[in-house]
Symmetry: C2
Subunit: 155 residues, 2 copies
DNA sequence: AATGATAATGATAACCAATATCAATAAAGG
DNA sequence: CCTTTATTGATATTGGTTATCATTATCATT
């Protein structure tokens, strides 16, 4: 197992621009609604729900509709630019996907997300395929807890 | 990492009896509705939704209501007798919890669930706590794919 | 076995995230 | 500038889950 390390997030403005050009290069139009959602999510350092993005996005584009938030997120996920997270209550939140599939550390209090590298589960995965006969297509590895700040606040 | 091994499920009738006595010993009453849900889930070899259990349970107890299914599942989970699983679409399914927290192998086609042992993520967990400052309280490790039967059927 | 306090039930309504509908609007290549 | 058509947003709808509440049934006590 390689050394585990936390990953620093790249610059938000650059990322937003990258996402918009990627949308454009795939035949999707760059609209004010999409700009608003992309900017909001690219700047975030926590995972956000569609409702969160709707609230933030309307600060930038007053006419923004909730449905457009969902549709934009759908496209961004399809292009592999963001990752949809599953919360224990069944709702979804979204974060930018830095490089392919990520393993995550989620704060149950403030929503902060840390991404980590260095855990190689491919050998576990292939062992399970051999022993179970399954063809493994996807996996989730997520840790839930309290981040450093929230540990101090929540006693 | 210890040797990974699949786990065989214990006898269904015994398990159902155990669950009912555990409910009783915790001050919960043993009703026909709860019997129906408990029996249905204890016999299952796949994960089931609340609606599934409602359908199966009504074969045993005609008056069974969907709400009682949810309430029974809530109690069983509270007592650590079953485990609630999170599907990518946000819905929930339920399986019997054999021994504490389980790591899972889920068939995306038929719902079959295999439990496996031998993956020790406690060292990964404690390493992440040191490096991130998080206090880790829970985790998910789930693999999704096709079981042996469904691989053959779905080409 | 009968009683009674109260946990549990189930029909119904309510809730909420997510999706479908559809006429009106705006992006972007020509 | 202009036309095509992808996109928008208000609204209605879906589907899983939870809340409400009068009625019923469990089970320790008698």
């Amino acid at each position: 197992m390689a050394h585990t390390q936390l990953v620093a997030k790249p610059d938000a403005a650059k990322r937003a621009g990258d996402w918009l050009s990627k949308l454009h290069s795939h035949g999707y139009r760059v609209t004010k609604s999409r700009r608003a959602v992309v900017d909001a999510l690219a700047e975030a350092d926590t995972s956000l729900t569609a409702a969160d993005l709707y609230g933030i996005g309307r600060g930038r584009h007053k006419r923004l509709g909730l449905v457009s938030v969902y549709r934009t997120l759908e496209k961004l996920e399809e292009l592999g630019l963001i990752q949809r997270l599953h919360r224990p209550d069944g709702c979804h939140t979204y974060i930018s996907a830095m490089e392919g599939h990520q393993h995550l550390l989620l704060c149950q209090s403030c929503g902060r997300v840390e991404v980590f590298h260095g855990d190689d589960i491919s050998d576990l995965s292939s062992r399970l395929e051999r022993e179970s006969g399954f063809e493994i297509r996807d996996h989730w590895l997520q840790f839930f807890g309290l981040c450093e700040k929230c540990r101090k606040i929540d006693t």
